[in-house]
């Protein structure tokens, strides 16, 4: 499948075509969509973490200026079906508004529709709701306790999932190993928090029976879920994919918002829009990420070889299930990281609690799992007094061992971890970095080196769905591309989803240009609406370089094949006797050539010149299935994603022991995502992912107090990294092509983020190791560092006294 000739556009340092409209302020986000007669929604949040709704009195609100409607959950639930659950948990019912009972503080109880958002907010204040408070639970272990008050009484408990997998001879390997260690680490609840909140506008046309939807969405099967909830045929729903999405990184999946607004548009016969304000978004956009406790046991030898691992992951998914428990399943595809761990026992537990609902976050649970695995490797090295990088090297899968089958059933495609590490150490001057750390320590600073090696599974299939839910038999996870050459010879290609900054238009144009050997800048890329689209599963699971790139490649190959056949017919020769080059087909034997314009003319206008059976026009489509991963799970094992990018982080952090504010003095990452299609895009993904990881490890957390109230509701207390917190990052490239993709490309949409939290935790723990303390919960905030150091100092003083 790999092109023999060197590539002209793929991997070349070209501009990203989407950027032009954005730098001019000409993006078209959902809040920019102008609809005649638009009405606006404001929502009223619950003040309680758990309460029965006794009564709702909207009479006064309805009298307010500009108000059209006040919708309650009860009314909505009569007209719509519950939103989709990933697991087989039918009694965990979720509607866009609370029905009968509220289950977390901030949950939306009523929606007010008015001529302006301000009027809707004014009126929402006039809605009178009487609540009767109920017992609640926010702590994960308490929620796991069977005596805790169930968030969904009909479900009977807070347990959504408790599944133990044993891959390989775990007990034997534990018994045979010379050493064991165990520990707990906690991944605090954070999210990707895009700067654009979620927004959706919908319009219902009763005469055409058509629901038009514009949304800030990144979600597979979004139109399907709207149609199911509204109980209308899917071809009555038209989602417009030509809406720019202001950041997502997984979370822009506002299905509850979309069903709410779509229902209102139908009821009111006017276009309706809900744009979350920041408070709506933080508290109840239902877009928080994993909230996870890991208990890990490791069995290893005196030489640092890790033989086996037992991991218990307890995730607090919040008040509703949705798809979020699957975030415990995706990491199964890289459960041993880049290491040759022979066997694994993995217990995945998901519990409900009275916190906001979770959504998919960049990496879909992989970053927390990598944090747990990398903490384990650091602890093995420290226990044995070995160098942490040396222990990693001893456990790494070697480059000649691919494709490598891990105990949980996935083949890793390719990699060269030892070389990437060697390149990073040489680039960073590891010995020099250690000397720098030690000099900082000698000068009274806390200083530490952080290390993390991890994989980015990419190519996104959904194999974790049937693995965790036997009723789900989905193995198809396709993406598509259509290429049309018009009657004047211009090329237009389609992609069938929204994008949120990943540069998919650039990707598709580059790949098609490469195959057809024409300038990508001359290719137009369009996004038809959902009714005009081929199947897409949207940019999830770090899949678009592989899947959209693959579909575009194959569609272009089909087009080229058609042109070759058409030209060979004109020459009266076999297809193998002609050569395609730069849009022209040549026949050496007769010294004849057919240029692009001539193929176009014949295809569009000269039916009499077409080979027998060839359809007129120049148009091809390709619907591509994810490479590998075509089977249902067997015995708890499954081939998850096809490709595995590798990253190796090396970080130097220093801080004053009294102040505790970490300064990242050096950040080097070695990155291998196979063949890079656009270097600028991949660089941006990696740098952005690291910044996101810095946030997750040092700053960001949705904190709930013991009363069930969320404390970090604004950007004043939920802190996003600014340019001051993110250092200059040095990237060391390496390329190990994947054997499973058209150009050898792998995914990079989650790069940086998957290892940065582990690396930063590693650095801070190295920095405080001389004091004899450690941190086992992310984020490690400034106050936690200085408090822990102060407490350790007090303890020492006491001991001395």
């Amino acid at each position: 499948m790999k092109p023999a000739a060197p590539m002209k556009f793929v991997s070349s340092n070209r501009r990203v075509r989407e950027d032009r409209r954005f730098v001019a302020g000409q993006g078209r986000y959902v809040a920019d969509v102008v609809l005649e007669g638009l009405l606006h929604v404001a929502v009223l949040p619950s003040p309680h973490p758990a309460a029965r709704i006794v009564s709702i009195d909207a009479a006064e609100a309805m009298k307010m200026p500009g108000v059209h409607y006040v919708l309650t959950g009860e009314e909505l639930a009569k007209a719509t079906d519950p939103l989709m659950n990933g697991l087989d948990t039918p009694n965990v019912r979720r509607y866009p508004l609370a029905v009968g009972q509220v289950r977390y503080a901030g949950e939306w109880v009523v929606a007010v529709v008015a001529e302006s958002r301000a009027q809707a907010e004014d009126a929402a204040e006039k809605v009178r709701i009487v609540y009767e408070q109920l017992p609640y639970v926010v702590d994960s272990e308490e929620a796991f306790d069977s005596t805790s008050p169930p968030v969904h009484a009909a479900h009977g408990s807070n347990l959504l999932l408790d599944k133990t997998f044993v891959w390989g001879e775990v007990e034997k390997h534990f018994a045979e190993s010379q050493r064991h260690l165990s520990f707990r680490v906690v991944w605090g609840r954070n999210s990707t928090v895009p700067i654009e909140t979620f927004g959706v506008a919908a319009k219902w046309d009763p005469w055409r029976e058509m629901l038009d939807v514009w949304a800030s969405i990144q979600m597979p099967k979004y139109p399907d879920q709207i149609a199911r909830a509204l109980r209308i045929p899917l071809n009555n729903v038209r989602v417009h994919f030509d809406v720019d999405v202001g950041g997502s990184y997984g979370v822009k999946r506002g299905i509850k918002q979309s069903v709410l607004v779509s229902h209102l548009a139908r009821v009111l016969g006017r276009p309706v829009r809900l744009i979350e304000d920041r408070l709506d978004n933080m508290r109840a956009g239902d877009a928080h990420g994993p909230d996870r406790i890991f208990d890990v046991e490791i069995a290893f030898n005196d030489d640092g070889i890790v033989n086996s691992m037992k991991m218990r992951a307890l995730d607090n998914v919040g008040a509703y299930a949705g798809r979020s428990p699957f975030q415990l399943g995706k990491p199964i595809g890289a459960i041993v990281g880049p290491y040759k761990i022979k066997s694994v026992q993995y217990r995945a537990i998901a519990v409900t609690s009275n916190k906001a609902a979770q959504e998919a976050v960049r990496g879909f649970g992989q970053a927390p799992t990598n944090y747990a695995i990398e903490t384990a490797i650091d602890k093995v090295a420290n226990t044995l007094g070995l160098d942490r990088i040396e222990v990693r090297r001893r456990n790494f899968i070697r480059s000649d061992e691919f494709p490598y089958l891990i105990p949980s059933g996935t083949h890793y495609d390719s990699g060269d971890y030892h070389t990437v590490v060697a390149k990073v150490l040489a680039h960073a001057n590891y010995e020099g970095l250690i000397r720098e750390r030690d000099a900082l320590r000698a000068a009274g600073q806390c200083a530490g080196i952080g290390i993390a090696a991890c994989l980015e599974p990419s190519g996104g299939n959904s194999a974790f769905e049937p693995l965790l839910n036997e009723k789900n038999t989905t193995t198809t996870w396709m993406d598509s591309c259509r290429i049309v050459v018009d009657g004047l010879g211009s090329v237009t290609a389609t992609i069938h989803t929204t994008s949120s900054g990943q540069g998919h238009e650039t990707l598709a144009a580059t790949v098609i240009g490469e195959v057809l050997e024409i300038d990508p800048d001359l290719i137009r890329i369009v996004r038809p609406d959902s009714l005009n689209s081929l199947p897409s599963n949207t940019p999830v699971g770090s899949r678009m370089a592989i899947m959209l790139g693959g579909a575009a490649f194959h569609a272009a190959q089909k087009l080229k094949a058609k042109i070759v056949r058409l030209a060979a017919h004109q020459f009266g020769c076999a297809e193998k006797d002609v050569v395609y080059g730069g849009g022209t087909v040549s026949h050496a034997a007769s010294d004849r050539k057919f240029a692009w314009a001539e193929h176009v003319n014949i295809a569009h206008r000269n039916f009499h010149l077409l080979p027998e059976g060839m359809e007129p026009g120049l148009e091809t489509t390709h619907v591509m299935q994810v490479p590998t991963g075509t089977k249902l799970p067997e015995n708890g094992r499954v081939q998850m994603y096809p490709c595995h990018s590798f990253e190796f982080h090396l970080v130097l952090i220093a801080f004053d022991p009294v102040i505790g504010k970490p300064e990242i003095r050096r950040y080097v990452i070695g990155h291998d995502c196979g063949t890079v299609i656009n270097p600028r895009i991949v660089k941006g993904m990696t740098l952005g992912g690291i910044a996101h990881g810095i946030g997750a490890s040092l700053l960001e957390e949705f904190v709930y107090d013991s009363e069930g109230q969320m404390l970090t509701q604004s950007f004043m207390d939920y802190l996003l990294p600014s340019s001051h917190e993110v250092p200059k990052v040095e990237i060391v490239h390496h390329c190990t092509p994947s054997p499973f993709t058209v150009f050898g490309q792998k995914g990079s949409g989650e790069s940086g983020y998957l290892g940065a939290p582990a690396a930063i935790s590693s650095a801070i723990n190295d920095a405080v190791a001389p004091i004899g303390i450690s941190f086992s919960k992310l984020p490690i905030r400034i106050a936690a560092i200085s408090d822990a150091i102060a407490a350790a100092g007090e303890l020492q003083t006491k001991v001395k006294a």
């Binding site: 501009r15 990203v16 989407e18 950027d19 032009r20 409209r21 954005f22 730098v23 001019a24 302020g25 000409q26 993006g27 986000y29 809040a31 920019d32 102008v34 301000a118 990707t192 928090v193 895009p194 700067i195 654009e196 909140t197 720019d244 999405v245 202001g246 950041g247 997502s248 990184y249 744009i275 304000d277 920041r278 949120s500 900054g501 990943q502 540069g503 600028r680 895009i681 660089k683 941006g684 993904m685 740098l687 952005g688 992912g689 690291i690 910044a691 996101h692 604004s714 950007f715 004043m716 996003l720 600014s722 340019s723 001051h724 993110v726 200059k728 990052v729 940086g752």
Partner: protein, 191 residues
């Protein structure tokens, strides 16, 4: 109440509630949707516009307060339709953006910096954009964009030779601009 604002050099009138923010007025009344709402409490900077040349939060200002000031939005930066200014083009060159949502505010902050200082240090740039949160890029390629724009602006201000050439004709390529070009700098080019 009626308010007349000078936006991108033109006087625009709207009838707004006194409580309406400048941001909402720009977006809804003047359809200048390049300014974005991110947090609406003055932290993220997505709504940044220039008020008399200084970056300001359009979400924290009422439209009626903006009367009498020169307001510049992202729509006022491009010299002509389809034509980018130096800062915008530099962001395209380094890919200093992804989703584009923070980009208008980011570019206006960078533009304001470069109006005062066409030789900013990395520290100056980091400080100037620190009020604009970007969730996509990790800021690396944004800093590169501002450095590139600064370099190009410095070159633009270098006097031409009589034959029309400038000391460094090859714009944008830092490897060539850093190369010594002693023969071409007799006119006191700024370093």
């Amino acid at each position: 109440m009626k308010v007349t604002l000078k936006v991108n050099g033109r006087l625009r009138t709207a009838d707004v509630e006194p409580r309406k923010t400048l941001l909402d007025t720009l977006r809804e009344d003047f359809l200048l949707t390049g300014s974005h709402a991110g947090c609406e409490h003055g932290v993220c900077g997505a709504c940044t516009v220039l008020i008399d040349g200084e970056p300001s939060r359009a979400c924290l200002m009422f439209a009626v307060q903006a009367d009498g000031y020169e307001i510049t939005t992202i729509e006022g930066l491009a010299p002509a339709p389809g034509e980018l200014n130096v800062v915008q083009d530099a962001f395209c060159e380094t890919h200093g953006l992804q989703c584009g949502y923070c980009t208008p505010g980011m570019i206006l902050s960078a533009h304001a910096l470069l109006e005062h200082n066409d030789a900013p240090t990395r520290k100056d740039i980091v400080e100037a954009i620190s009020g604009n949160i970007c969730r996509c890029t990790g800021y690396g390629q944004i800093v590169e964009a501002v450095e590139l724009a600064a370099e190009r602006l410095r070159q633009t201000n270098v006097p031409r030779h009589v034959d029309g050439t400038r000391p460094n004709e090859s714009l944008g390529d830092s490897t060539t601009t850093d190369a010594p070009k002693a023969a071409h700098t007799p006119h006191g080019a700024r370093r």
